[in-house]
Subunit: 392 residues, 2 copies
C-alpha cells in the first residue's frame, strides 16, 4: 500500500489533469449531446489504465463502455455512468459547468460528482494498483452506461442480453457520500419501484350529481379501491404482498441501531408533527429502510376549482408508487394488485404499470460488504456509516 | 268555470300580448342587466290583475316583487322568478331570444318557459278569476324573486327576515312539465343540498415519495377519510345520518309504483351497464326519490399528468355533495360530518360548507297536494304524473 500511496502522491497532478479533461465534454442522454464523445473518452480512460475497452451498442441508447481485467476466484463488477444531468439553470453556477475549476481545494464541474469523478477515480486507482502491485488478484468488470440520468431505460434489456458477461460476485455502485458527522457512508441496497396508473370510467360523460343516487360515481369507485390497498394504520392489505417482505435479521437490526437518523431535522424540514403511526427510534428506521411503501402520488377526478360544481364524475385516476424490498418485484406487484382488485369487486379499475425496477440488497455479512467495510476503515481510519438499504 | 273559460277565450290575444311585452326586457341577475326594468314590469303585471305590488329591497340582490289578494281560512303562496338565464350561445337561436316569436303554435323567447311564462300565466289566471268569479276565497301571496338563476343567494335571508309575511298553508313552485307519455307532471318536493370542500395538509410542501414510509401522505389521509363516509355498497356510514332519513310511507310507495322511470333510456344516455347495487324497479325509484346521496364531485392531489412523478403530496382535497331528504339539513349534516371525522381519527381533515339548501317535501295526502291533483284532472282531463320528490 505504501507504494500505491507514493504513486498517488507522485501522479496527483497527472491524474487530476486526466479528470479535468474528462469533465470538459459532457454527455446528455436526454438531449442526445456528446454521446459518442463521452463513450470514446470513457473508453480511452480504461485503455490508459491497461483495460481493453469495448463499446457495446445498445439499440436506441448510448453505448455501454465495458472492460475486464485481472484473474482470480472472484469477480467484482464496477458500475458507473458517463452521462450527466443538464447544467441548467446556468446563472446559479459560480464557474462555467464544463470549465472545471478548483476553489478552496474542491473541484467544481458538472459530473465532478455523480458520476464522472467517481468513475475516473476508480479507473485511475486501478492504474495505480497495476503500476505498484501488478495485476489484480480477482476479475474486475467495468460497466459504464450513458443514460443513467434519464432513468436507464435500456439497461434492463442490456443486462438480459448479456447475463453471462455480467456475472459477478458483487458490484460496486456509483459511489457514496458522507454523513452529517463526517463518516463515509456505505449503502447495501436500493428499494425497487413499481409505479402504476389506476383509472376507472363509470359513465360516458360527466353527469349532474342529482343522478348520483342511482348512477355509479367514478371517484367513489377509485376511493374504495384505493382504501382496500392500505388501511389507515399504514398496513398494506393487498393479499400476499407483505408476506413476501424479507424481515431484517439480527445483523440488519444491529446496523440500524448504529445508523443515525436525525428525526428532529426531518420533522423540521418537512413540517410534520409526527411520523406515521407516531413511530420513532428503531421502529421508525426499520419502516424507512426495510418496509415497502404504497404511496398515492396523485388523485384526479371531476371538479377541483373554487366553489361548487355539482358534477358526477365519469372518470377518476390515481398515480400509485410502491417502493419495493426483497422479495417484491414489479411483475409480482402488478399481479398481486390485479388479483386483489378483482377479488374485492374492483375489476372496473384499470391498472397500468408505468415504470418498474426490482429492489436489490446485499446481506450485511456478505463477503463484499465485509471487504468494503474493512477497506473503508483502512483507508479513512474511521468507521463507515453502513446503511442496510436506501429508502429511495 | 264556464265563465272563466269564456274569458280566457275572449281575452286570449290580449293576454298573449301582455306576455310578449313582458318577455322583451330580460333580467339577468348575474350580469346586473334589466333588474329595475324586470321588477317594474312584474309589479305592473300584478297591478293589472288587481294586486297591489310591493318592491321589497333585498340588500345586494334584485328586489322581491310581492303582492297579496283574497281572504279566507287558508293561504296559498305562489313562488316564481322574473330573472332568466343568459341567452348565449346566440347562434343556436332560430329567432332572437328577446323578440318573442310564434312558430307552429308555440311561443319562442328566453323566459317563455322558466319562468316568466308561468309567472305571467298565473297572474293573468287570477285576473280572469276575479273578472268572472270575484275575489278568491283564500289568501294568495305572490313572491317573485329576481336571482333564482344564480342560485337565489339572498332568498334565505329574505325569508328569515319576513317569516310572518310569508306564512302559508302551501306553496306552488315555479311550474311543472310533461312526462314522456304526455301527462302533466307534479312534483311534491325537492332534495336539499350540502356541498363541502374537504381538505387536508400533511407537510409543508410536496416531498419525494421515497420518504413515504415514514411521512404522512395527504392523499391517503383524504382517501381513508372519504372511505369512512360511504361504503362500497353505497351505504352512507356517517353516524346519525341515515337515522334521520324519513322512510317513505305507503302512499309514497304507491305513488312511486305508478311513477314511470325509463331505466333503459337512462342507462343508454349515461352509458352505464347497471345502476348502483344492481337496483331496478321500485327499489331503484325509492333510492332515487327518497334517499340522500353522498357524491364525490372532485378529487385533487399531487401529480395527475402523463407518466410517473414520484411525489408525496402535501395537500389533497375533495368536493363532496350531499343531496338531502327530510329530516336532514345543511347545518345538521355539517355537524354530523365533523363529529364523524373527529371520532374516526380524521381531525386533520378540514370541512367547509360551500353551499347549503334544506330539503322540502309535501306529504302525498296534504290538502294542497289533493287540491292540485284534483285541479289537474279537472283542467286536463287526465291523471297527472305525481312524483313524491325531485331527485335534484
Amino acid at each position: 500500500m505504501e507504494h500505491f500511496e507514493a504513486w498517488a502522491e507522485t501522479n496527483f497532478e497527472e491524474n487530476l489533469a486526466v479528470l479535468i479533461d474528462y469533465l470538459r465534454v459532457p454527455t446528455l442522454a436526454g438531449q442526445g449531446v456528446g454521446v459518442p464523445e463521452g463513450a470514446e473518452a470513457t473508453a480511452a480512460l480504461l485503455a490508459a489504465a491497461g483495460v481493453e475497452p469495448r463499446l457495446i451498442d445498445v439499440p436506441g441508447a448510448p453505448p455501454v463502455v465495458y472492460g475486464e481485467i485481472g484473474e482470480g476466484p472472484r469477480t467484482l463488477m464496477v458500475y458507473d455512468h458517463y452521462d450527466v444531468q443538464p447544467a441548467e439553470p446556468l446563472d446559479l453556477w459560480t464557474s462555467a459547468p464544463y470549465e472545471p475549476t478548483i476553489r478552496d481545494g474542491r473541484l467544481y464541474a458538472r459530473g465532478a460528482a455523480d458520476n464522472r469523478g467517481e468513475l475516473a477515480a476508480r479507473v485511475r486507482a486501478l492504474a495505480g494498483y497495476r503500476a505498484t502491485m501488478g495485476e489484480p488478484p480477482l476479475k474486475i468488470k467495468f460497466v459504464f452506461e450513458g443514460e443513467e440520468e434519464i432513468g436507464s431505460p435500456h439497461l434492463g434489456e442490456f443486462v438480459a442480453a448479456n447475463r453471462d458477461m455480467l456475472e459477478a460476485d458483487g458490484c460496486l455502485w456509483e459511489g457514496g457520500g458522507w454523513d452529517d458527522d463526517g463518516n463515509p457512508e456505505m449503502t447495501l441496497g436500493l428499494k425497487g419501484i413499481a409505479y402504476f396508473d389506476l383509472r376507472v370510467r363509470s359513465a360516458d360523460a360527466d353527469l349532474h350529481s342529482s343522478l348520483a343516487a342511482i348512477v355509479p360515481d367514478a371517484a367513489w369507485r377509485l376511493v374504495w379501491a384505493l382504501a382496500s390497498l392500505k388501511d389507515a394504520d399504514e398496513r398494506i392489505t393487498i393479499e400476499g404482498f407483505m408476506a413476501r417482505v424479507v424481515e431484517p435479521g439480527p445483523e440488519d437490526l444491529a446496523l440500524l441501531e448504529r445508523l443515525p437518523l436525525n428525526e428532529a431535522k426531518i420533522r423540521e424540514t418537512t413540517g410534520i408533527a409526527r411520523f406515521v403511526n407516531g413511530l420513532t427510534g428503531l421502529a421508525l428506521k426499520r419502516k424507512l429502510y426495510f418496509e415497502p411503501t404504497c404511496t398515492i402520488c396523485g388523485l384526479t377526478s371531476g371538479y377541483g376549482g373554487p366553489g361548487a360544481k355539482t358534477v358526477l364524475p365519469a372518470e377518476a385516476s390515481a398515480k400509485v408508487d410502491f417502493r419495493l424490498v426483497p422479495d417484491l418485484d414489479p411483475p409480482t406487484v402488478e399481479r398481486l394488485l390485479r388479483d386483489h382488485l378483482d377479488r374485492h369487486g374492483f375489476a372496473d379499475i384499470e391498472t397500468r404499470l408505468i415504470s418498474g425496477v426490482a429492489p436489490a440488497r446485499s446481506p450485511v455479512n456478505a463477503d463484499i460488504v465485509r471487504a468494503a467495510i474493512a477497506t473503508a476503515r483502512a483507508i479513512w481510519g474511521m468507521e463507515p456509516a453502513v446503511s442496510p438499504n436506501s429508502p429511495g
